[in-house]
Each structure stands twice: as C-alpha cells, then as structure tokens.
C-alpha cells in the first residue's frame, strides 16, 4: 500500500489543536480592521477588506460554540480560498505547516458531538497530540 501525505496549516483555538489543508488556504493575516454587520448570524464577526475584496470573517470559536476569547486578544485571520470568494476564519493563533502521513488519519470518533463534529473531516494522531482537521466546506456553511 502506498502511503500518501497531506500538508496541513495548523492553528490553535483555545486548547484545541486544529488544521486545514494548505491548498485550501489563501493567506494568513495577523490583524485587520473588522466592520461589524448588524443582523448577521452570531458567528459572523464582520467584514474585512482583503485588497479590495470584501470578505466575511467567521469567528471559529462561536462557530464551534466555544466561549469567546478573552478581551484584548487579537485573533488571526486564516483566509480560505473558496470558489464563491474568499472567507476568513478567525482563530486564536497560527501554527506551523506540517506534513502528515495518511496512515495517521482517522475519522471523527462517534463520541465527539455538537458543532465540532459538524465541521470536522477527521483526526490526525501526531506523536504528541491530536490534530483536528477542519472541512472548509462545512465551516463556511453557517445556514
């Protein structure tokens, strides 16, 4: 059996170690001005100007029903490349890009429930911790 590998852009959200496939990521922006959108779904933090393009920024914490980050922390934008136009994900901090062997992959265990389960593609078992892999298609679908 031939082993294939995947490159993941990793990030942190509270105590969670997460990742998204590198090819799906357009860019990472440290900090940018956010325009709030009244009436928007709770998990949409606002809009950012990405070189003239208007991009919705999703608060991943809220998307996963996690408690809000502490006041004063500056989230990082992971801008996902989408066919219909970029969408940004706000996370606590950005990690490294790591390459993982598919043999370490497992689908999400049945016991993981709630919003987290909805957006997960599966789990990679790294040597030290578990890496939760986000499915971009499901993250951006807030309906």
């Amino acid at each position: 059996m031939q082993n294939t590998t995947r490159q993941l852009c990793t990030f942190y959200l509270g105590r969670l170690f997460m990742g998204v496939e590198v090819t799906k990521v357009l860019e990472v922006i440290r900090s940018t001005e956010l325009t709030p959108v009244p009436l928007a779904p709770d998990c949409v933090s606002g809009l950012i100007n990405l070189r003239g393009q208007i991009v919705s920024a999703l608060d991943l914490r809220r998307r996963l029903s996690l408690p809000d980050a502490k006041e004063g922390t500056d989230p990082v934008n992971i801008v996902l490349h989408r066919e219909e136009g970029p969408v940004s994900m706000l996370v606590d901090d950005i990690g490294d890009v790591i390459t993982l062997d598919d043999s370490r992959f497992e689908s999400t265990p049945q016991t993981v429930l709630g919003n987290v389960r909805d957006v997960l593609e599966g789990v990679y078992k790294t040597d030290t911790e578990l890496l939760l892999v986000i499915d971009p298609d499901r993250v951006v679908d807030v309906s």
């Binding site: 001005e33 325009t35 709030p36 959108v37 009244p38 009436l39 928007a40 779904p41 949409v44 606002g46 809009l47 950012i48 100007n49 070189r51 003239g52 393009q53 208007i54 991009v55 919705s56 999703l58 219909e84 136009g85 969408v87 951006v140 807030v142 309906s143």
Partner: protein, 755 residues
C-alpha cells in the same frame, strides 16, 4: 469592417478553438454530456449568427454539424472516430470560411457541398457506407488538431501565400484551391483577433481592486505629505496623485459603457431575421445611454441577441396575420433599459401574438417536461417559466433562426450567472414582454453615507428623495405618533418614520434616539420604495460618494437589509443598505400598499377582459381619437349640400327626422400649434361628403361630424392619462400611439337637452 461581423469573427474564432479541444476530448469520453452541450451551443451560436449575417454557406455547414451533434445529444448517434473526424473537418471548414469572410466579406468561394454530404452521411443510419468520395479538400481531417497551436495566432511570414491579395483572388475565385483556404484557416492570419483583446472578468476585477488600493495608499501618502517639508518628496507626491487619479478614471471608464454599444447592432440583426422570416419589424429603443459595467455588457450580449431573435422569429406574426387581427402590418420591438431599485432593468417587448399558455401546457406534457397533472395545476406565470427549462421549445417547426430549445435555457443560465433574473409576461394577441434584471453588483453608483451606532452605511442615491434635519428646539412638536408609529408631517403629508437603529437590531430604542436627538437634531433621510415614501432616521449624514458595489458572502446573503458592501476611502468596509428590503422589514409598505397592489392586479385582470370595439377617428388637429362603438347607432356619409341651418345650428334631414349636427372640430378647441403639413392636409377627405357618427339619445338622434373615420379597433378604454381639455375623457396608448378618448356624453349633452 462592420462591427457586428468583426465581433462575430472574434467570438467564432474563440469558439472554434474551444471546439477543437472539446471534440478531441469527446472522442476520448463520448459520454461527457457537458462538453457535448457546450460544442452544441457553440455551433448553434455560430450557425445562428452566420445566418443572421447572411453567410449562407457557413450557415449550411454549421447546420449540418449541428444536426449531427443533435443526434448525438439525443443518443441516436455514437461519437466514434468517423463522426469526430467529420466534425473536426467541419470546424476546419468553418474556420476557413471565417478567414475568407475576414478578407473578402464573403464565404462562398469554395463549395463545401461534399463536406455537408459527408456530415449527413455519417449522421444517417448505422453502418452508413464510408464516404466514398474524398472529402472536400478543405476538410482534410486532422486526427487530433491540438488546440494550442491554433489558439496562438502564429505570425505568418508569408501572408501572400496564406492570404492571397483580394485582387488576385477575385477573378479566380472559384478555381482557388480549397487547400490554400484551409491553410489560411490553420495559420489564422486573423487581423481581427489582434486588434481587440479580450480581458477576463477576473482580471478586470483585480485591476479595479488594485487601483482602489492604490488610491488608498495615495491618500495616506498625501496626508503624510502635509507634514513633510522635502520639496522633492512633495513634487513626487503631486505626480503620484495625478497619475493615480487618471489611472482610476481610466479603469472606471474601461468598465462602464452605455448599453447602446450592444443595441446598435440590433436594428440590423432584426432587419435580417425579419427579412428571412418574411416579417416586418420596427425596432424602438429607450434608454440607450443607460450605463452598464463592461463585464455586465459582455455577459448580457448573447442572451439579448437570443431574446431579440426569438421575439422576431416566434413573437411577431407575419404581416398577413397581423392585418387579419387589426394590427399594423409592421410589428414593433421595443428595447428599454433603465435603472430601478439599484438594478439595471432591460425589457424586450414585442407586440406579437403572445404566448399561448395552453399550447405551452400541451408542449410541456408532450415533451415529458412535466406530467399532465402538474401541467393542469400550473398557473400561466408558472407555465411561462417552463420556457426556460432545458430542451424546451414551443416552435412547432425547427427553423434555421431559432427553435431548438437551447436558446432560453442558455439565456437564463447566462443571466443567472451574473446574479440577474429573467421574467416573461405575455398575453395572447397582445404581445410578450421579457424583463431582464441585473443587479448593480460591479456597478459604480452614487450613494449617501450615513452613520448609525458605530457603523457607516451607504444608501444608494436612486432611492433618495431628500434630507430633513429637525432642530432640537421644536423636535417634540414635529414628531407625532399614531399607535406608537412615529410620523413626521412633511409639507402636509404624513411621512412614516423608520429608525435605522431599530431596523439593524442595534440596542438603542427609538425613544432613546429621539431623546438623544432632542439634545442636538434629528436627521431624516426621505426614501422611496415601491412607490411609498418613508423617513429613515439615522445618527448623522456624512456625505455623498461614488461607491463600487461588492457582493456579500453567502453567510450574509439572507439579510434583507443589505444590498452589498463597499470599501470607503479609508480602506474600511461599509455596508450598503437595501432600501426596499428595509421598507419591507419595517412594514412601511404595509396594508396600504398591498391594497394598492391588489387593486392594480384587479384592474389589470379587468383590463385584460375589458377591451371593447371602438371607433377610431382623426381629430381636427391631426391627432387620433376613439369613441366606444357600443354607443354609436350608425355611421353615415351625408352630402354636404344636404346640410341646412336652423338658427345657429346645422341640421340634416335624416330618416324622416331632423338630425342636429355637432361638428367635432367646433366643440373641441383646436390645439394645433404647428401648421399642418401640406401633404397631410385633408388627404382623403371628400369635400362633398360629411362623415357623421349618429348617436341615439332617447327619442332624439344627434350626428357627430368628424374629419375622417380611420378604423374600428379592439382596445381597452382604461384611461392612462387624464384629460387636459374639455370634451375628452383622457388618453390611452393604442398601437404605440397616444390616442384620446372622446367624452361622448359631455359633447352631446347640450344638444340632447336642447332638443
């Protein structure tokens, strides 16, 4: 060269390049439906346009190819190597003819009859004999012409060989070897393609965005330069400033174009199609200067051509049919464009036969698009929507102009791709109106920038009527409430107030806004939506600005309050308010409007059935006037010499009675301001006889003398414009002309009572 031909060439070259690749792919995967559909559409478009432009041979060849593809599409023909070779030969032939058209404006120097035969042979029954004859030399089937070299218009070092000079070509036109043509086609010595450059939508968007960013950077530098003292730096900043402005303007200009640019070719197109179908059609245009984003113009070009072609081919009836149904022999095709509710609306209206819903229903069932039960349940409006279903066509016979059922399907796809919508309204015997709405996405619009809470919002200027600022002093007196609904008396009319705070779900309550305003002032933006005015209360009014409308992501698509977003001068994002959406949310349209809408619907329904026969006459001032025929008892021609006078009035002996005569010219004050032209001076009026319309009122009859009875027409007498003079009820539009409706009662009244 004719602009329309030029465009056709550029487009067709592109399609051909694509088709080369597509056919090769089809050979590998004969089941690739999407590709098959695409090549079919491509060749269909080439055929249609070629036909419209009068390139008969090109049309024939393309038609043969299309037939082949049609069978393949229906699964009747397998796309084996033979078929693909024949199709590729067709592509080469088409390309050769395009080059020919480019050089000599004709397509008939080489006869492609053999190719057409070959295409037919491959398409006919299974196991058809191999084409015995050597295929047309021009159609040398290359097994797999790779698209890449073709797409690159290779510089031809020896143009005289590939493209013989016109003079040399003329005399030996027929003898010219087809091989040379094919070679020319392959080398593509296309001049046209080199002159225009097609830029992708994405690239144009990107340029626009980058220019926007540049403007922002420029602004920051300008601010910075205010504090700088370095002369060189200041001079450079100044130059940067100018160049940036100019660049911005140019990019904007590159994108905005009047719709005239695509409409210009329609009269010719319509003329040619009408000619081909033996019809008479006049094209009228309104709003040619309506500006559209370049990308939108491009995107709606093909759909509009399809719609226009359909209107002429299917909509407008042949002259004899029109005459039989009391219509002028010449049909009218009206193209209308206008901005409304922040959208660009384009209407294509014909006064043709309309679409018969029952026929649609039958066709839909026959073609298995829907079941008979479904069909029975559909309303007329829903039935019209079926026209856009794939593979649906109402044309009973497939003409070479339209009618294969690809058109409307493609039209809708293309319009929806740019976020637009398309709607059909039709009435049998009256005509069909197709309305295309394109969102203002991509468009640059003037907007009013306001603030509310922490945010800035842009309100499209199209909905804006005026701004009202109420000073704190008399605020309490000026704002009144009806059942908790605040209103303001604007010049005597009640203006319902809507608080933007409230509509955006911001925490502040309306009363708080009012209370806060009582310290400073209240800003009301008077807006209009669906014919209803309302005042939007905002915190502050900043300025007006030209904004570039950008779409919101799908996460925010459902919020009715926003039409999009834009980027402000400081680089931050501001939301664009959707005025109709806010009006709906706030319910300002309310019951009143719904009532009115219901009324309008009822009126329309009544109108549809309330046409009646009316007498059309010429008025003394050369206008047209109708009077209901139901009230007329007789039409008479009375010799002038029989007119006698009793006192001041003219009478005539008529059926043993004395018939008082009322001259229309004397009861209607003449309004003519310009002298009648000599040629229209009483053209057919017989000086010796009077045209008299006889009315019966009780025991008495009255004769109304008119200048000329023109016609008896079937029309609705619903007044569209109230009267501006006595004796006239008002005006209606009939056969595209404003026509007055005579107030018979008012005119006859004095005479009947006197009698």
């Amino acid at each position: 060269m004719d602009e329309i031909i030029q465009e056709f060439l550029v487009e067709s070259y592109e399609s051909l390049d694509r088709m080369d690749a597509d056919f090769v792919q089809l050979e590998r995967e004969p089941d690739a439906k999407a590709i098959l559909e695409r090549v079919f559409r491509d060749i269909h478009t080439i055929k249609g346009t070629a036909g419209a432009l009068g390139f008969g041979q090109l049309e024939k060849v393309a038609h043969a190819g299309e037939n082949l593809l049609d069978s393949a599409r229906d699964g009747e023909l397998a796309l084996d190597a033979d078929v693909i070779s024949a199709l590729l030969a067709m592509v080469d032939a088409v390309r050769a003819m395009l080059v020919e058209i480019e050089e000599h404006s004709s397509d008939d120097s080489v006869d492609f009859g053999e190719l057409i035969e070959r295409l037919k042979a491959v398409g006919s029954a299974e196991g058809a004999p191999e084409p015995a004859a050597e295929p047309a030399p021009a159609a040398e089937p290359e097994p797999a012409p790779t698209p890449a070299p073709v797409a690159q218009p290779a510089p031809t070092p020896a143009p005289e060989q590939a493209a013989p000079p016109e003079k040399a070509a003329e005399p030996e036109k027929a003898a010219e070897p087809a091989n040379a043509l094919a070679a020319a086609g392959a080398k593509r010595s296309s001049q046209v393609a080199d002159q225009t450059l097609r830029v992708s939508v994405d690239l144009l968007e990107k340029l626009m965005n980058l220019v926007g960013e540049l403007v922002l950077a420029r602004n920051q530098i300008l601010q910075h330069s205010n504090e700088a003292e370095d002369r060189d730096f200041l001079a450079t900043t100044q130059r940067l400033n100018l160049i940036t402005s100019e660049l911005q303007e140019s990019v904007m200009k590159a994108r905005m174009q009047p719709i005239r640019n695509i409409w210009n070719k329609f009269p010719r197109l319509v003329r040619d199609i009408a000619h081909a179908c033996g019809k008479q059609v006049r094209v009228e245009m309104e709003g040619q200067d309506t500006e559209l984003d370049k990308t939108l113009i491009e995107a709606i070009n093909d759909p509009l051509i399809h719609l226009v072609r359909n209107a002429v081919d299917h909509g407008i009836e042949p002259p004899e049919v029109r005459l039989a149904s009391d219509k002028p022999a010449e049909g009218t095709l009206l193209l209308r464009a206008y901005h409304q509710d922040g959208q660009v609306n384009i209407e294509i209206r014909d006064d043709g036969g309309g679409i018969d819903p029952d026929k649609l229903r039958r066709t839909a069932v026959a073609k298995n698009v829907i079941s008979p039960e479904q069909a029975a349940a559909l309303s007329h409006q829903e039935l019209f929507k079926l026209i856009f279903a794939p593979g649906f066509s109402t044309a009973e016979k497939v003409s070479n102009v339209s009618g294969r059922g690809v058109g409307m399907d493609v039209v809708r796809t293309n319009i929806e791709r740019i976020g637009g919508s398309i709607d059909i309204q039709s009435e049998v015997g009256v005509g069909t109106t197709i309305k295309v709405e394109i969102p203002l996405t991509l468009a640059i619009i003037p907007a009013l920038i306001v603030t509310c809470g922490q945010g800035r919002y842009a309100i499209p200027q199209v909905s804006l009527l005026e701004l009202v600022r109420l000073d704190a002093d008399n605020l309490a007196d000026r704002i009144e409430t009806i059942y908790n609904a605040p209103v303001y008396r604007l010049r005597g009319n009640l203006l319902p107030l809507v608080f933007l705070h409230h509509e955006l779900g911001l925490t502040q309550a309306d009363e708080d806004v009012l209370a806060e305003a009582s310290n400073k002032a209240l800003n009301i933006v008077v807006l209009q939506a669906a014919g209803q005015q309302f005042g939007l209360v905002v915190d502050a009014i900043i300025d007006t600005e030209e904004i570039v409308v950008k779409p919101l992501g799908q996460q925010l698509n459902d919020i009715a309050a926003y039409a999009g977003a834009t980027i402000m001068g400081d680089g931050r994002v501001a939301l664009i308010l959707d005025v109709p959406g806010i009006a709906r949310n706030a319910d300002v349209l309310g019951a009143q409007t719904s009532d009115r809408l219901v009324d309008a619907e009822r009126r329309e329904a009544a109108e549809a059935s309330s046409t009646e026969r009316a007498l059309l006459v010429r008025t003394p001032d050369d206008g047209r006037m109708v009077m209901p025929l139901s009230q007329v008892s007789r039409l008479e021609e009375i010799p002038r010499r029989r007119v006698e006078r009793t006192g001041s009035s003219a009478v005539v002996q008529y059926r043993g009675e004395i018939l008082p005569l009322v001259y229309l010219s004397s009861v209607l004050p003449e309004r003519r301001t310009t002298p009648r032209r000599a040629d229209t001076l009483e053209p057919e009026v017989d000086e010796q006889t009077l045209q008299v319309v006889v009315y019966q009122r009780g025991r008495y009859s009255v004769g109304l003398v008119v200048d000329q009875i023109l016609d008896i027409v079937e029309t609705s007498l619903e007044i569209q414009l109230p009267s501006s003079r006595p004796g006239v009820l008002g005006s209606i539009v009939m056969d595209e002309r404003v026509t007055e409706v005579l107030d018979v009662e008012a005119i006859l009244e004095p005479h009947v009572s006197a009698a």
